[in-house]
Symmetry: D2
Subunit: 365 residues, 4 copies
């Protein structure tokens, strides 16, 4: 059950990178939601390899096929099966890795855990697994847009290594700005420098990481389930389950620890009939429950573990060796991680929306 | 089910701060584990109010009573019920708060979610809820110590506001050092400055936060369940479900985003028969699975929301107002949060240990 | 987690028969439901030992204490903890049983499973565990009555050994008739003969079983979650988790296998605006989903395993021996099992009601 | 999540009868279990339409494709995706049923629940959904055979309408006998009469039901998780989740209610070092935990709801009407239900085996 996520809107992903394909089953999607293959394909195209010059040149079409749960453009309320066939497999590129554990990859730990491993392409630990998440997230988004007026989730690259984007304030931050550059940052000027840096480290066989920030709008007050399934707790789990993530913070985050309580607290005020806060250091969640403000959080991505340079390592038979990775890879995963983060937000919020509808349909929503 | 955590070693906490008491049910604890009330009480005493001059002076004995699941000092394999009676309740201190929402507390969001709220003492959103977690964590620790030689979890205050502790390296970091000062930091000199700061902000009716770091030793390679129940994902959720947390990072964390892949990767080497890494920027987890190195992570705690100064806010009937909190509170929660973090680690690791035992008893353990 | 039941309305029972007490935590109860201790106590009194001359004379008050989740007579939406202290314990009566396994009891299997056992009173396998279920069921009933007009669940003894009750048809079957006799059957004449039989077998140190039938009214069409959580599947599990049950059947049940399809099918007709069936061999559930008709099912209870006569058995050290049980017991569990069955129905229906409210709030309800 | 079953060995089925196909994801299968497509195909062929003259002549190959989780004939410990493409679809046969609800089918209740329905072929309520169960069950069987010496599950038709099979005792009951006739009963003489009856009712456009009995051998003492996940409770749920089931009983079942306790109890004796019972009215489970004896239970199947005769019903717009079903169907589902029941047993036992291995690896197994 470790490949399943969610209580009511529940997904189960499956598939190895170099097997027949990857996919997902969504169980618990409400009926009568408009849904087309294009809704899903649009998001898959945003995470697809080969989409720009700064991502891996692997040639995967990543065409989604809906196998069940949808009829005449509407969900049936039954499990939705989605299948994406693998097409560009080059097992030969992985021969050497069959013996030598790639540093900071999951090769060794998979062997330690399972006693067996799909070497080629990283198997289940490949980022290809996130295809199922992105496809399911596209459906969760439809569910939310169906019920929550104004629901919108915008993730964007905040930093690549030490290059920082300037984030437009309020409604100036739009999907258009983010999608206007291939890094998916919200700052056209920084985008240029980020692209240059990524191209440079790739030419050196090296890699870089960074931070993605995410703003979620239109979430009503009342979502989140204390004490363990707090909204930020479920978001943190969802983000830290993505490959290459090393940190999560919400609202003021780690920097907030440098403030005093008086500086940090978000004072309430009435905005017409609505309770609002003047600042948003809480990040839109208080006591584990959304308060109606924008939800804002950040996720740290380490530099890609695959580097095309010789590194020391060991073999699966316990001998010291060296390994020089070859093959195609992302020198920086962040541009493709943006839609993954948005997908995980859709999944968590949709699940909590349904949970709240069960608990108290008239209270918050 | 939102007050339950864990798949096999599963706990359910219950209780409001000012009701009859708080408690926990542990379902799935293996049988024949030695367990006494003292094992539990020892940890509760570490999180107890009134334990030192820098924590809230509330007078709660927090005496644990084991109601089931244990006989003659051994677990039965049946649910373990634990009850801690509330004793020091002063509902009158909360009269004003019944109407006015405390800034950056859960008052407003609980009303938005449930349409009703246990005003006195914060009800379920009170840190008193963590008593059940700490009690259950003490039992999880016994399970792990029973099966995993060398298992040890050490949390300590790393920073209070901008005061940083120097962390002793390797085996110089011990429980004794941490418990030798009332802040529970690992640096005697920094401890003095931290204590002074906490006393100062308290005298001003203000508050501070900080960062707790945690090192977990003796976890074998192989724990963690990709793709969603990765070990760091479950740790992140557990930590972010604690009150006042704003961030989680593992290994290199956010700072790791400033490195290149070549700098960041942890090279493997053979240490006798054991696969080891020379550095530990992975934080002991790779691909969601423990690799046998120390697990190391950090958690950000915001400054306590309760400040004894007038703040602007609104009433539950939608009118702007001001509120001056009174009553007893922690000007800094970190000293008491240390055992909470350790408890959450015990719970997550115990659950994953049992899951791995089910999956592949001969592989890793 | 094996002592937990339910997806959204989730209960966790705990407690051994001869420990400090037994209890339950209800997690997921909606807020703002009126609830008093009396609501719970009324049902506990119906399952209490010593309530009549035909049940065990054990003297347990079984007084429920609500420890959390309720304030001023209303649920808070937070976990509801309920505690019932054990009072009448006679461990000495169980000395002999510490060594010899009681035939058709759980003594041997608990030892085989856990390697340890709370001998006294049967520990966790005692029917005392059902106190938590009955208490939680009383709360589930309040939730259902709050939302579903006309919801009513009536269980009654249909047979004791070979004595059969005549069941009044339609609205002639009432709670009053069932509660008018100490067997809790729906046929005053049969009640007399049942009581005589129970008294006779008890005087002989023997025991009897029988069948309880249950009718549930006011369940709207649309509850039940194919394909695994079909309403009858969850009812079957709930019933078969009760002590001493050996069978479950719904609608036509086993007897329906003697009919042809043409005889068996329930034809639809319009009753004003409502779709109805002329017969009800489906038992109110079709394809795993309620159809708005009365839900009707039956549960087989074996004769009580405790008999006060010498029986052959073995010791826990593997030697043949004999055992003559002493102590107080029910010669027939059915009168006290009636409220247990009703409680399990309330729990299952409440859980499915909340699940349907999450899935499709406007469709069926 | 209602299409998922199991705690550790967890399956999720998906697919409508007349969509692209049906399938299943198995999450939690241990690694390093030998598995081939043939293992799965063998069981699918036993449930396949068109396999004999007494089942539906639908022409479905039901060829299983393993999409993930298996490499070089061994499980990887990752989710196993299985896909079976639908081939024989005749939507035209269902035009009339789009408006008129088939009596005792799930047409009306699906509309009531979801507000939408895949009319053609019954959609999700079709018995085609059980393909995923049977495929997953074949894998669970491999897991059990890998770890439990002597594990075997034999289901067989006990009665068709009023025709009863004589069951060979002990080791005379074999898979060969059951598979030697197309009814899958254990009595060659009764088989002839059953076949005649099925052919006769089919020629009349009518249908029949019956009872399947199941014997499970080689289950060690100690499996089953009181108090809710008792082994018989989980078996009951699994069986009652199959289409067309109306009843479940274990061991003595409903007939056991006619005995006294002294007659009913299973006395223990020592058989060498092993605790055994002389009789088996418990059906191999005591207190919810297997006792090492054969597990034996029975399941009632109603006569197939599809009959080729005119019946009264209503339309989905609320008008009385009549309906004469056409198309191909099983006049008796039991021969094809035998492998379904075995699959459900494998799934439940495998899940409980893994749960016990987590809880107490040294105790029972």
């Amino acid at each position: 059950m470790s490949s399943s996520l969610g209580t009511l809107f529940r997904i189960s992903t499956w598939g190895e990178s170099h097997g027949p394909g990857v996919g997902v089953v969504i169980d618990g999607c409400p009926p009568c939601i408009a849904l087309t293959t294009e809704d899903i394909q649009h998001e898959l195209d945003r995470r697809r390899p080969g989409q720009s010059k700064i991502v891996t040149p692997r040639k995967e079409d990543d065409k989604a096929e809906i196998l069940s749960g949808v009829l005449d453009g509407q969900t049936l309320g039954t499990p939705i099966g989605i299948f994406v066939r693998n097409t560009d497999q080059r097992p030969s590129a992985y021969t050497e890795m069959a013996q030598a554990y790639r540093p900071s990859h999951a090769d060794y730990t998979y062997d330690a855990k399972y006693g067996i491993r799909a070497v080629s392409g990283g198997g289940r630990s490949s980022a290809r697994e996130t295809i199922g998440r992105v496809a399911a997230g596209a459906i969760a988004r439809k569910v939310l847009q169906h019920s929550l007026k104004g629901y919108e989730c915008l993730a964007y690259v905040k930093t690549i290594k030490d290059i920082q984007a300037v984030v437009p304030s309020g409604s100036d931050l739009t999907s258009e700005i983010i999608e206007s550059n291939i890094v998916r940052t919200c700052d056209a000027e920084a985008a240029e420098r980020m692209i240059s840096l990524i191209e440079q480290v790739r030419s050196e066989g090296n890699s870089v990481g960074g931070v993605i920030e995410c703003v979620v709008r239109g979430v009503p007050a009342g979502l989140g389930e204390p004490v363990f399934d707090k909204l930020e707790a479920d978001l943190a789990k969802a983000m830290m389950s993505l490959p290459a993530t090393k940190g999560f913070e919400i609202g003021s985050g780690f920097a907030g620890t440098l403030m005093t309580g008086l500086e940090h607290n978000d004072e309430f005020y009435m905005d017409g009939q609505q309770v609002r806060t003047r600042s948003n250091r809480s990040g839109g969640i208080q006591g584990g429950i959304s308060n109606g403000e924008e939800i804002i959080f950040r996720v740290a991505f380490k530099p890609t573990a695959t580097v095309l340079r010789e590194q020391k390592t060991v073999t699966n038979t316990g001998e010291d060796t060296t390994l020089s990775a070859r093959g195609r890879h992302d020198a920086c995963v962040l541009p493709r991680a943006v839609p993954m983060i948005e997908a995980m937000v859709h999944l968590i919020v949709a699940d909590h929306f349904l949970r709240q509808r069960a608990l108290a349909p008239d209270t918050a929503i």
